[in-house]
């Protein structure tokens, strides 16, 4: 292991550019996936049997698919079915976004379903008794409580997504791992470049953990939020009790 080569790799343009692509793909795919997942979760409790069955089928199919298979399918398979997608009008980023977000949506739907089920019936009842319209009940009463419940599992999904973007190297999207491998192909310095890439992921996930703690603190419903927040941050000490 050559320290200088490692340090050069760490500060290389290849990894910095890959970093931007990784962050972009993660945020876009996760955002679309969560929105889609919320929709699917709501459809699962639809009044109409057909709609419920459709939502169930979506989760069934997309949760069963390996992410790599989805990536290859949307990148190679889809243009074969829809010739218009051949050529530069259908970049790898788009294919990767579709693959990752449809996959994420299936997981997110289950997370949201659990969140929706966790809300006490009395909450909707009280909101309806006030005369609130259905959309208002959902937006003002149900959703804020669902968000709090889904933050931990959703944050877990976000971290998974961050790492899974590396699979997009299979469709030659220039994210962190693709660029790492490109460099290795010419330098043959495996250990230095892989370690540098690993550092990038570690830093990314660490930054995100701080964001998650901040987000959870915002959803502590106590008037003395600061004190509660400090208690929440105690995950560093392995103490997760939050009163």
């Amino acid at each position: 292991m050559d320290v200088q080569i490692f340090l050069d790799a760490l500060t290389s343009r290849a990894l910095r550019e890959g970093l931007v692509m990784t962050i972009l793909l993660t945020i876009v795919s996760f955002g679309i996936g969560m929105a889609l997942g919320l929709g699917v979760a709501l459809l699962r409790s639809s009044r109409f049997r057909v709609v419920r069955a459709g939502a169930w089928t979506y989760i069934w199919v997309f949760r069963a698919m390996p992410t790599l298979l989805l990536l290859l399918f949307f990148w190679n398979g889809l243009p074969q079915l829809i010739p218009a997608l051949k050529g530069p009008g259908y970049p790898a980023f788009l294919a990767a976004t579709i693959a990752l977000s449809t996959n994420e949506a299936a997981y997110a739907a289950e997370i949201f379903r659990g969140g929706l089920l966790s809300i006490d019936d009395g909450q909707r009842l009280a909101a309806r008794a006030l005369g609130m319209a259905p959309a208002s009940v959902f937006r003002r009463v149900v959703l804020p409580q669902v968000v709090r419940v889904v933050i931990p599992p959703a944050a877990n999904d976000f971290i998974t997504m961050l790492k899974i973007t590396s699979l997009a190297s299979a469709v030659s999207l220039r994210e962190i791992l693709t660029n790492t491998q490109t460099q290795i192909a010419t330098t043959f310095r495996f250990a230095e470049w892989y370690t540098a890439a690993a550092i990038y992921y570690l830093v990314l996930v660490s930054i995100f953990m701080v964001l998650q703690a901040w987000l959870e603190r915002r959803y502590v419903w106590l008037s003395q939020r600061e004190g509660a927040g400090r208690q929440r941050l105690s995950f560093l000490r392995g103490n997760t009790s939050a009163r």
């Binding site: 309806r128 006030l130 609130m132 106590l222």
Partner: protein, 276 residues
């Protein structure tokens, strides 16, 4: 609560309630039926409540008291019968012969004149006491945030909770939570307020502070239907006391009569059991 001074309701509301207004029923149930599967929870319930009246409903658990209140509040569909407010039929659209249940959005509008207080308070945990009281004003009545805050603060003060306005429900005692819930219903200026066992989930020492608010409301002329096990409240505050059993009202009389010489054997046995 002890330093409760002045009124809970707005002065103009009280004046209106005490004005010599027609004594028709504000809210009325007509032969209401409700089934859960094959179990008939309400088997033809009829009763009306006049403006300024307080009706207490007693009865064993499972007798359909809570279901009746939910039907009155348009929170549950009926399997038969009608709910009327000031003579107007609620909850359904009178079509050609057949009555269709209104959409949830339309039902929501009709509910705004009916307030409801729940056994388990059902405060919104993500909002402060103030936020809970403000929500109906901003979301339903279309009141601006600043004005809603003012109205909510005033109402919290009247139920003795000005100092708890910024607290979240999890930081309040059961009695305080229930008073916030009452304030939340009152700011909507309902024509009638329904209470579903409002003190049953409270520690004994917290029951009094909630009952005192309810008594004050009754004194000021608020129209109320109270499902309760508080015999003292029913006897001292209600204008009529009703007994429900197996989905029907089996006794309906003024409190003195109801408690001293009930007409039904079932009522007598229930009262003996409750007093024991």
């Amino acid at each position: 609560m002890t330093e409760q001074a002045g009124h809970i309701l707005d002065a103009d509301v009280i004046a209106e309630l005490h004005a010599g207004t027609p004594r028709g029923d504000v809210l009325e149930a007509v032969d209401v039926h409700r089934r859960y599967g094959s179990h008939e929870v309400l088997r033809g319930v009829s009763f009306g409540i006049q403006r300024g009246q307080v009706k207490a409903i007693l009865g064993p658990s499972g007798s359909g008291k809570s279901t009746l209140l939910r039907c009155l509040a348009l929170l549950e569909p009926l399997d038969g019968g009608e709910i009327r407010m000031e003579g107007r039929r609620l909850g359904v659209r009178d079509g050609e012969g057949r009555a269709a249940r209104l959409s949830e959005a339309t039902l929501a509008r009709q509910r705004t004149d009916i307030g409801m207080v729940f056994q388990r308070f059902n405060l919104f945990p993500h909002l402060t006491a103030l936020g809970n009281v403000m929500l109906g004003l901003t979301e339903v009545r279309g009141v601006g945030t600043a004005a809603a805050r003012g109205i909510a603060e005033t109402m919290l003060e009247r139920v003795g909770l000005a100092h708890r306005a910024e607290y979240f429900p999890s930081e309040l005692s059961g009695g305080q939570q229930q008073r916030v819930a009452i304030a939340r219903a009152l700011v909507m200026k309902p024509k009638v307020l329904l209470f579903d066992e409002p003190t049953s989930a409270l520690d004994p020492e917290l029951v009094g502070e909630v009952l005192r608010v309810m008594e004050e409301l009754a004194r000021e002329g608020m129209t109320m239907v109270v499902v309760t096990h508080e015999i003292g409240f029913a006897r001292g505050v209600a204008s009529r006391v009703l007994m429900m059993d197996e989905g029907q009202i089996i006794e309906d009389g003024p409190p003195d009569e109801f408690f001293s010489s009930p007409s039904q054997e079932r009522t007598r046995r229930f009262l003996d059991a409750v007093r024991a």
